[in-house]
């Protein structure tokens, strides 16, 4: 059964309770930030900070709006991090859809950072391994909801069976459209096979204003590397080995002895 986290951005009040819950449950080390001209806790995610509320001030139709949205691992069905990961078993996809890092197997190459279309994983300079939201796999394994969901005071965050979450999200967008938000919609990008973190957006036509990429996909260079290039490489290596071997079998070594002596003074041609 697939599970999903539903983020109804229309109900987010930017209280950051989910940030603290995430920090506490995952035993993260707290750090002091520098002022970056915004209400955001920090400018970006960090190896010890997996869940960030982004604050975006938008000027639209002469009015100001202040969009707050949660930014964390999307737990994609076709996960770019998994596609890019070279270390077997370092990133696993659980039966419920969770994309989880197994840090014993992580080699810290950071390919997942490049493979991720949402720019989520972060490399720790301390442990030299990569970290991101685990969808609290240690909680979901025993039937608890993720820590962020548990703490959310406004029901902005809900968690459950993926189909149910999609149904709730759909109902909410219908409501929003009826309320005059004609561009309301669900963010569940098809380019990565859908995500197990689903957003309800008032303006689904401009996901960028919430800090979400418009059409995330697994990068083609990652696909090239993991697909055709494997064949090309295998062909080249095996070809080279076999080619040279059979060359030897057919022609033997380039040995002057075999070609007979020539008078050193004789003109070469």
């Amino acid at each position: 059964m697939l599970v999903a986290k539903l983020i109804d951005t229309t109900l987010c009040i930017g209280c950051k309770a989910c940030e603290v819950a995430c920090q506490e449950w995952n035993d993260q080390e707290y750090t002091l930030g520098t002022f970056d001209g915004s209400y955001q806790t920090m400018a970006d995610l960090a190896p010890n900070f997996w869940n960030l509320i982004k604050f975006n001030e938008i000027e639209k139709d002469g009015g100001t709006s202040w969009l707050m949205s949660k930014y964390q691992c999307m737990h994609c069905a076709d996960a770019g991090c998994i596609a890019a990961c070279p270390a077997p078993g370092a990133i696993v996809q659980l039966a419920n859809g969770t994309v989880d890092f197994a840090h014993d197997n992580c080699i810290g190459c950071g390919y997942c950072i490049t493979g991720c279309p949402f720019d989520i994983p972060r490399l720790s300079p301390k442990t030299k391994k990569v970290y991101k939201c685990s969808l609290c796999s240690d909680r979901t394994a025993v039937g608890l909801e993720p820590a962020c969901i548990k703490t959310c005071p406004t029901n902005c965050l809900t968690f459950g069976e993926r189909d149910e979450m999609l149904r709730v999200a759909e109902a909410k967008t219908v409501e929003l459209r009826a309320d005059g938000h004609k561009d309301a919609g669900i963010y569940n990008p098809a380019g990565v096979g859908g995500t197990n973190v689903i957003y309800v957006l008032k303006d689904a036509k401009a996901p960028e204003s919430y800090g979400l990429p418009r059409d995330p996909t697994i990068p083609w260079t990652v696909q090239l590397w993991k697909g055709p290039m494997k064949w090309l490489g295998s062909f080249a290596f095996i070809g080279a080995v076999l080619g040279t071997f059979f060359h030897y079998v057919i022609y033997g070594p380039q040995d002057p002895e075999l070609h007979g002596h020539k008078d050193e003074e004789a003109p070469h041609d």
Partner: protein
């Protein structure tokens, strides 16, 4: 709150004004979101700043800080003008029909009876008949009835006038008014959520009165999803208010004045007389509440013969004032010996830090009981720790004050009850023992008390009686259990030695003892009601009567009798907290006699007139709220420039009590709290320090552009009292306002930093003025003048 957090989910309209619950009450705000999600409620947010609450509102209108009464007055005008008010409710449940004495009026900024420095309130009284009851005109037509006087008073508050004062546009005002007055329909209700954005003004109490008037006109008082709801800041600030203040004994009983020389005089002066024929006038029971309190204080020592120990109670002189501004002014003038600061950080909390630092340095001793070394405990190092702000404060070596910092336990290290905004007393258990040498609050207080009494017994001293007669019969006198205290607060029948079931059982003959009459019923013979966690909801209105215990009498919605008309028919059948079944009122605990027939008593049993007050003569600056400018304002009052600010404004005249003018300090400043922090406390904790590590100053984009300031640039904000420095946060969320045709800019100043803690920054109260509301004594932390410069 008249209602409660869970009840907010019943609202059709949520007016958030003078508060920012999304940021400062995010957990309570879930019920606002529930109303929005499930009832499709409209959220209207009126605030000088575009806050996180504004971000999720359906309608946001910016106003100039300190002009809320103009906006609410405008709403009253709008409702009366358009007829969008609940006429029957106003007729039956308010004093709209009451006649006021001849000569009442309002002119040039003053109500009738102005005497230069104060009011003679003779003309503000009801016209009484021979029985001493107020005369009424049920048709609301008499020119001296409250309704007509109100109509006249608010005639001036047109949308155009509101826009001119508040700085928004008239269209914005009307759009908000249309949404708010949805609640005028009998089957709609609207709630008002407010907090320090209203109380931090020099006309704060009048402002809340104005909100109550709006809610009465909409028929929202007593209704589920209605009410006037103060969101309390600290987990137990409601409890601390309920348990008394400088001028209040527990349960809102007044502290005796020096001229009330015996108990009879005191009770005569403080027990109200009924003003209407059928009025229940519940405060008429004041003698029972007071005498039971005295029995709780002095036990067997309180007797009928000695006036229940009345002489042992401290008295305040007839006109004495010991509110914040007054006692710090006294301290500044060297009139105080010492200060015990418990769970409080005055240096950070109070206005005009420079004055307070000087004041503390004049004390002989200062005791601070706290979890951390606070600014108050470290006040003598202010110059060393933050010289750029406190260059004029004496060096540590010049300060003679002896400071004792007592390590106190944290909230998680003690049991007891928190009283939340909903008036729920929620009992909690201790999670941890206090660390190290830290002691529980009651242990610190008991040991102090017992030691002082021991020294008195040994060496003698002035006025020993209050100390010696105090009842202190706890199992371990030096460490009373909070359960013992809670049982004492609930009250005991002294003849049967049984816990009382409620304040209905209190007697005025000395046979009952009760530490706080409004809490009576919280710990009965059935046990600790506050520890209950039942989740049943028989009315379906989210009242949860089995969850903890709500004062008074476990009533969840105050004035709930007003949710039905005089004949007992609910205004909205789908949302009736009370129903008359022919014998009794069922549902919530009735704010009425439980078996009184619907028409037998008027609905507001706590008031001597039996109905709610649109016209409230007990407030000091007038019976109707009037817009007055803050003590420092960029403009003169457009309504009456000669009486611009509150004529009863409380202010002091010591050297540091300076006020600035618009020519030197052209911008309006607002202090406020952020989600990420709790007061000056969480800068000591890692998680909150991470969430918001830095002090900053919010600047309107237009002003910043004119001054060449970009986000992150260091700036200095200066008022007549002092200055602060920090990086600018430039935002379009702070809109430029147009007041009387002039541009007004507002500057945002979050409060949470200071000179000690994991993260530090300036104390924002370096800037704030020592101007106070005359009714409550609350300082004007919002809407004062500053200037801004790039460093």
């Amino acid at each position: 709150m008249t209602n409660g957090w869970t009840d907010v989910a019943n609202a059709d309209v949520v007016l958030v004004m003078g508060g920012n619950p999304a940021e400062n009450h995010p957990v309570g705000f879930r019920f606002v979101m529930e109303a929005k999600r499930l009832r499709k409620a409209k959220i209207v947010c009126i605030d000088p700043r575009f806050t996180r609450t504004a971000a999720v509102s359906d309608c946001y209108v910016p106003i100039r800080s300190g002009t809320d009464i103009a906006f609410l007055g405008g709403l009253i005008h709008y409702a009366l003008e358009t007829g969008k008010y609940q006429r029957k409710y106003v007729e039956q449940h308010t004093n709209a029909s009451f006649l006021i004495a001849e000569g009442f009026g309002f002119e040039g900024g003053h109500f009738s009876g102005w005497q230069g420095t104060k009011y003679d309130k003779t003309t503000w009284q009801y016209e009484l008949d021979a029985q001493g009851h107020a005369k009424t005109d049920p048709k609301l037509e008499h020119p001296r009835c409250v309704f007509q006087l109100m109509k006249t008073h608010y005639q001036r508050y047109t949308p155009a006038q509101v826009a001119e004062i508040c700085g928004c546009t008239a269209e914005e005002f009307v759009k908000a008014a249309e949404l708010i007055t949805i609640a005028a329909a009998e089957d709609k209700s609207g709630t008002v959520l407010y907090a320090l954005g209203w109380t931090h003004h020099s006309h704060a109490v009048q402002l809340i009165h104005a909100a109550a008037m709006v809610q009465l006109l909409m028929g929202n008082i007593g209704m589920p999803g209605g009410g006037v709801n103060a969101q309390r800041g600290h987990a137990n600030i409601q409890g601390s208010t309920d348990m008394g203040a400088w001028n209040m004994l527990p349960g809102y009983l007044k502290i005796p004045r020096a001229n009330q020389t015996d108990i009879d005089e005191y009770l005569k002066a403080t027990t109200p007389k009924s003003l209407a024929a059928k009025s229940l006038n519940y405060w008429g029971n004041t003698p029972k509440f007071f005498k039971s309190l005295m029995k709780a204080y002095y036990g067997k020592n309180a007797t009928v013969e000695n006036g229940f120990g009345y002489d042992w109670l401290p008295k305040i002189s007839e006109t004495g004032d010991h509110s914040w501004g007054a006692f710090f002014d006294d301290m500044y003038h060297g009139k105080l010996e010492g200060l015990i600061s418990f769970g409080m950080n005055p240096i950070a909390n109070g206005p005009n830090t420079g004055k307070m630092l000087t004041a503390l340095s004049k004390l002989k001793w200062l005791i601070v009981a706290e979890n951390f070394e606070t600014e108050t405990a470290a006040f003598w190092r202010a110059k060393e720790l933050a010289e750029k702000y406190y260059a004029k404060i004496p060096e540590a070596s010049q300060i003679q004050t002896e400071v004792f910092l007592l390590p106190a336990s944290n909230f998680a290290e003690k049991d007891g009850a928190f009283v939340n905004s909903s008036r729920w007393l929620q009992w909690k258990e201790a999670a941890l023992d206090p660390p190290g040498a830290a002691k529980r609050d009651q242990e610190i207080l008991s040991k102090l008390f017992l030691e002082i009494r021991r020294l008195y017994k040994k060496d003698g001293g002035a006025n020993p009686a209050p100390l010696m007669n105090m009842q202190w019969d706890y199992a371990r006198p030096e460490l009373p259990l909070l359960s013992e205290v809670a049982r004492e607060v609930n009250g005991v029948d002294l003849t049967t030695i049984k816990q009382l079931n409620g304040f209905g059982e209190l007697k005025d003959d000395g046979t009952t003892a009760c530490g706080n009459w409004i809490y009576s019923g919280s710990w009965t013979e059935a046990g600790n009601m506050m520890a209950r966690r039942g989740q049943g909801d028989p009315t379906g209105l989210g009242l949860y009567p089995q969850w903890a215990w709500s004062w008074p009498a476990n009533r969840r919605i105050l004035y709930n009798r007003a949710s039905a008309d005089e004949n007992g028919k609910p205004w909205d059948e789908t949302r009736a907290p009370l129903k008359w079944d022919g014998e009794r009122w069922r549902g919530d605990v009735p704010d009425y006699k439980a078996d009184a027939e619907p028409g037998s008593l008027p609905a507001f049993i706590m008031l001597p007139e039996g109905v709610a007050r649109l016209f409230a003569p007990d407030l000091v600056e007038g019976p109707f709220p009037e817009h007055y400018e803050p003590a420092e304002s960029p403009v003169l009052n457009p309504l009456h420039p000669l009486v611009s600010s509150n004529p009863m404004l409380k202010r002091y005249s010591s050297a540091p009590d300076k006020f600035g003018e618009a020519k030197d300090f052209p911008y309006v400043a607002i202090t406020y709290r952020l989600t990420e922090h709790f007061h000056y406390w969480t800068k000591h904790t890692s998680s909150s320090a991470e969430l918001q590590s830095n002090f900053f100053v919010e600047l309107p984009a237009e002003l910043a552009a004119a001054k060449g300031i970009a986000s992150g640039d260091m700036i200095r904000v200066r008022s007549a009292r002092g200055h602060v420095e920090g990086p600018a946060l430039v935002t379009k969320r702070l809109r430029t306002l147009k007041v009387k045709g002039e541009k007004v800019y507002q500057i945002g100043l979050p409060i949470h930093w200071g000179f000690v803690g994991k993260v530090t920054g300036p104390l924002i109260n370096n800037l704030t003025p020592s101007a106070y509301d005359p009714n409550s004594g609350t300082p004007e932390y919002k809407g004062f003048l500053v200037n801004v410069e790039k460093i």
